[in-house]
């Protein structure tokens, strides 16, 4: 437990508001415990900034256990940093070495404009879900939960896709800032279940068309999204999305 603290150089994107011009600012942090999380390291930086009566670095975060999808950060060229299957709040400082220089940038995409510093606006994702990422049932009047049996394999695949936390790492990692992995996760989750099949056609068309309107790029099957997804959602879902979409348009 008595491991040596890390001294690090941070190069952090600071931008006062959406319209302001941003720049990288260099900070030094000292004696950071390797057992603390990346965000706790930033907390410590912010504490020192407040002590100096400066504005702390703004970044999105909430649950700090890798499930809310609020934390972001593009760390040394990788969304959520250099560990796989984690969000930034689950990234631990033991992944860094003493003396490292760390670049911290916000997600970059036209559809995710910067609000302040490292905080971006991801409401585009909400808009995509609003276009059709649901089963159109009202509260009440539904059949018994066990009325329809579902193949375990399909239920498991649906769950794999449904684990998406909507953090936007897929968009951030994609060289084209494409949202296909996000959209495909929701389309797959619902297309794999009998409850979702009924309006699968309308759903996929509406969600893809909303995605296109919002200014995301096109998928070029590079696979960066899959590599960076903290929930390790597979690009086989993108193939399923393509299939659903093409069949829906042709059918």
């Amino acid at each position: 437990m008595e491991s040596k603290g890390l001294n690090l150089t941070l190069k952090i994107w600071r931008q006062e508001n959406a319209k302001a011009k941003g720049k990288f600012v260099t900070y030094e942090v000292k004696n950071i415990s390797p057992d603390c999380s990346f965000l706790e390291m930033l907390d410590q930086l912010n504490e020192t900034l407040v002590e100096k009566f400066e504005m702390p670095v703004c970044f999105d975060h909430d649950c700090r256990e890798g499930i809310c999808g609020m934390c972001s950060l593009y760390i040394n060229g990788r969304p959520h940093g250099n560990d796989s299957g984690v969000t930034t709040c689950q990234l631990h400082m033991r992944k860094f070495k003493d003396g490292d220089t760390i670049y911290i940038e916000p997600w970059r995409a036209k559809a995710f404009p910067v609000i302040r510093d490292l905080v971006v606006d991801r409401s585009a994702f909400d808009k995509i879900i609003q276009a059709g990422g649901y089963v159109s049932v009202n509260t009440g009047g539904v059949p018994d939960a066990n009325a329809i049996a579902i193949r375990k394999e399909n239920a498991d695949l649906a769950m794999d896709a449904a684990q998406c936390i909507g953090c936007g790492a897929c968009v951030a990692a994609c060289k084209n800032a494409s949202a296909m992995l996000f959209v495909s996760a929701k389309v797959s989750h619902l297309a794999l279940l009998p409850q979702g099949k009924i309006e699968a056609k309308e759903r996929v068309e509406a969600m893809v068309s909303r995605m296109d309107e919002l200014g995301f790029g096109n998928c070029s099957n590079t696979g960066a999204c899959e590599a960076e997804c903290p929930k390790e959602i597979k690009i086989t879902n993108i193939a399923r999305l393509n299939r659903e979409y093409i069949c829906s348009k042709l059918g």
Binding site: D126, V137, T139
Partner: protein, 644 residues
């Protein structure tokens, strides 16, 4: 004002159906003319907003996060209870009701809890229809697991992410209504006050967290679904942004605050490991299905383990004290949370604790791995094990996990009647924000059940009973004097806190408050500790309003200002918790007064004097006044809780 819980008369199992068939309803044409404000988008808020939108009301929803999908319900891992009796193991609505009342140590309202158990099955039906991918058996039907405090398997789950899947279900229903235009969503917007007109809740004042704009919103009714206040303790399993401010604003405007001292300490969290720590991570209670909790029988062994001179796997089977199995043979490792937490504290206080700090016990899967094979354990808890390994850097398949209790959930909250209405007409509180269903201790997998029960199946009915009387109230202009005045007060409060320009950060105060709470209002409370806590909190609050430093201005994205306003409220809430705990001279559920325990260290209730819910009324600078809502158990025989 005397408290009227408005419980319908008649036999327990007919109260809810009687209520529904006799309540007032609003006809479809009038629904369009009525505005409802919902604050919070967790399970309760999102499900309520979606359901109200579907019914045809005009709904406005607010959340402080960037998206409604981020609410902290998402972090619930283990599952959701429902009296479906699919496994055919003897479950029933009555049994779920009984377990919940007993689990809550006979401090919850019978009628509410029965209704909760009654609608629990509908929740599962609803969620499956929405496409929630619950775990299934190979035959294609839903799987169940067991949870603490129950002898049946009634917990539905979606791997270790049940809360996420249920919230995404509610979020999808909400999104559908947003698209339809029945619901208007305001994200990154925080409620800062309730507006009362002629004694009724008529709207809220909010702050746009991106621009800092202070805005006024009108509603014929206001619903608070703002969650619990566990973050009073600074370190808790709550999200960083979870706060008690909406509840405090309601409280200051006249809503009573009930049972504030009832906070749940969750037994299976990853132990604290440093001063820089910002939150505690929960490991799902479901782990106790297969994990066995132990410490060494010999203190000297514990000491060697603390110093790293020995590994836990070196401790022989006969030298391990499986203290839960020893003390509670009937429930073993599956005793309710409060019991398990206290037992862990007892062992650690007695010097048997492990880990570098001595504040940890082992949760061991070696027996289960031997019995079931690694792959079964991996399938059941794979993601939890992975999460543990990421944080602690130890492999729980090979070495036992270390766990310690942490603040998790607050059973206390805004006082509500049977209709979920607070003491302010037109102001409702649902989900964790209210106090009604869990008594002094909540059973595992019941928070999700209550949030969704309130949001999908209870509030959409009961609110109509009130709104039916409001169909002649036209939409009010937010230029009305009451709105202007409340807004001015909010702005004044913000100005005041920014202008302190003291020397210390908001977080430094919050951490100090957390230490006071954990030390003196934590798992074991005494008259002395609570008196001391009140003293310390009052002093800390005074210092806060002199010494806190909030950088920046109101007119910008300013997370420090958000925190500052929340911590100001926590400093009042903490005091109220201590006052309530001091008043309650008994031990029950999550509230353990060391003066009141049985000879073998179990909680000792005092039903003669404390069989009531305490509801605190705000009295400005003076001490709050307590009102009692007596709890009458007409249908259940009150017993001492026994998990032996």
């Amino acid at each position: 004002m005397s408290l009227n819980s408005k419980i319908p008369s008649g036999p327990l199992e007919q109260k809810w159906s009687y209520y529904k068939s006799h309540q007032n309803l609003v006809n479809p044409a009038n629904k369009r003319k009525l505005d409802v404000i919902v604050v919070g988008t967790g399970l309760a808020g999102a499900s309520a907003a979606a359901s109200l939108g579907e019914l045809g009301f005009n709904v406005k929803v607010f959340c402080y996060q960037d998206s409604p999908r981020r609410a902290h319900s998402i972090a619930a891992q283990g599952g959701i209870n429902a009296a479906k009796n699919y496994p055919n193991d003897g479950d029933s609505v009555y049994r779920l009701f009984y377990d919940t009342i007993k689990g809550g140590d006979y401090r919850a309202r019978e009628a509410n809890v029965y209704r909760l158990a009654e609608v629990s099955g509908n929740i599962i039906d609803q969620c499956v229809a929405q496409g929630v991918p619950f775990a299934r058996e190979y035959g294609g039907l839903l799987d169940n697991r067991s949870f603490g405090g129950a002898q049946v398997s009634r917990t539905f789950y979606a791997r270790g992410q049940t809360g996420q899947q249920l919230l995404l279900g509610a979020y999808s229903a909400l999104s559908r209504q947003i698209e339809k235009g029945t619901v208007k969503m305001y994200n990154r917007t925080e409620m800062l006050d309730v507006v009362l007109v002629d004694g009724k809740a008529r709207g809220i004042i909010t702050r746009n967290l991106v621009t800092g704009a202070i805005e006024r919103h009108f509603g014929h009714a206001v619903v608070l679904a703002t969650g619990g206040y566990g973050n009073v303790f600074f370190l808790s399993t709550n999200a960083m942004g979870s706060n008690g401010s909406a509840a405090m604003q309601a409280y200051r405007r006249g809503a009573y605050f009930a049972n504030p001292c009832f906070a749940q300490i969750h037994p299976t969290c990853i132990p604290v490991h440093g001063d820089y720590q910002s939150k505690l991570t929960l490991m799902s209670e479901s782990l106790r299905n297969d994990g066995r909790i132990w410490v060494p029988k010999d203190k000297t062994v514990s000491e060697k383990l603390r110093k790293g001179l020995m590994k836990p796997t070196d401790v022989k089977e006969e030298d391990r004290d499986y203290y839960l199995e020893r003390r509670y043979p009937a429930f073993g490792n599956l005793v309710p949370r409060d019991v398990a937490s206290r037992a862990a504290k007892e062992r650690c206080d007695a010097g048997y604790g492990v880990g570098a700090t001595g504040l940890a016990v082992y949760l061991d899967f070696s027996t289960a791995i031997q019995r079931l094979g690694k792959h079964v354990i991996e399938e059941r808890y794979g993601n939890l094990f992975q999460m543990y390994e990421k944080i602690v850097d130890e492999n729980p398949y090979e070495t036992p996990m270390m766990i310690y209790p942490a603040i998790h959930y607050t059973m206390g909250g805004i006082w509500v009647d049977y209709e979920l209405m607070t003491t302010i007409p037109g102001l409702y509180a649902i989900g964790e924000a209210n106090f009604s269903d869990h008594g002094a201790n909540r059973l595992g997998a019941s928070a999700l059940m209550q949030g969704l029960a309130d949001g999908y199946f209870i509030l959409p009915y009961t609110i109509q009973n009130y709104l039916a009387g409001e169909i002649r109230t036209p939409r009010m202009s937010t230029d009305a004097a009451e709105f202007v005045k409340t807004e001015a007060e909010v702005k004044e409060r913000i100005k005041k806190i920014i202008n302190i320009k003291g020397k210390h950060s908001v977080d430094s105060f919050h951490k100090r408050l957390g230490h006071i709470m954990w030390e003196y209002v934590g798992m074991g409370r005494t008259r002395e500790s609570l008196t001391k806590a009140i003293e310390l909190i009052v002093a800390l609050r005074a210092e806060y309003w002199k010494e806190v430093y909030v950088p920046g201005t109101n007119d910008e994205f300013n997370p420090e200002l958000e925190k500052a306003l929340r911590v100001a409220d926590f400093l009042e809430l903490g005091e109220m918790m201590a006052r309530d705990a001091l008043n309650r001279e008994e031990s029950c559920g999550g509230h353990f007064r060391e003066e009141y325990q049985t000879e073998d260290g179990e909680a000792l209730r005092n039903d003669d004097k404390f069989m009531y819910a305490s509801a605190w009324e705000y009295k400005g600078d003076a001490a709050p006044e307590m009102h009692k809502e007596p709890l009458n158990y007409e249908f259940i025989e009150v017993k001492q809780r026994n998990y032996k």
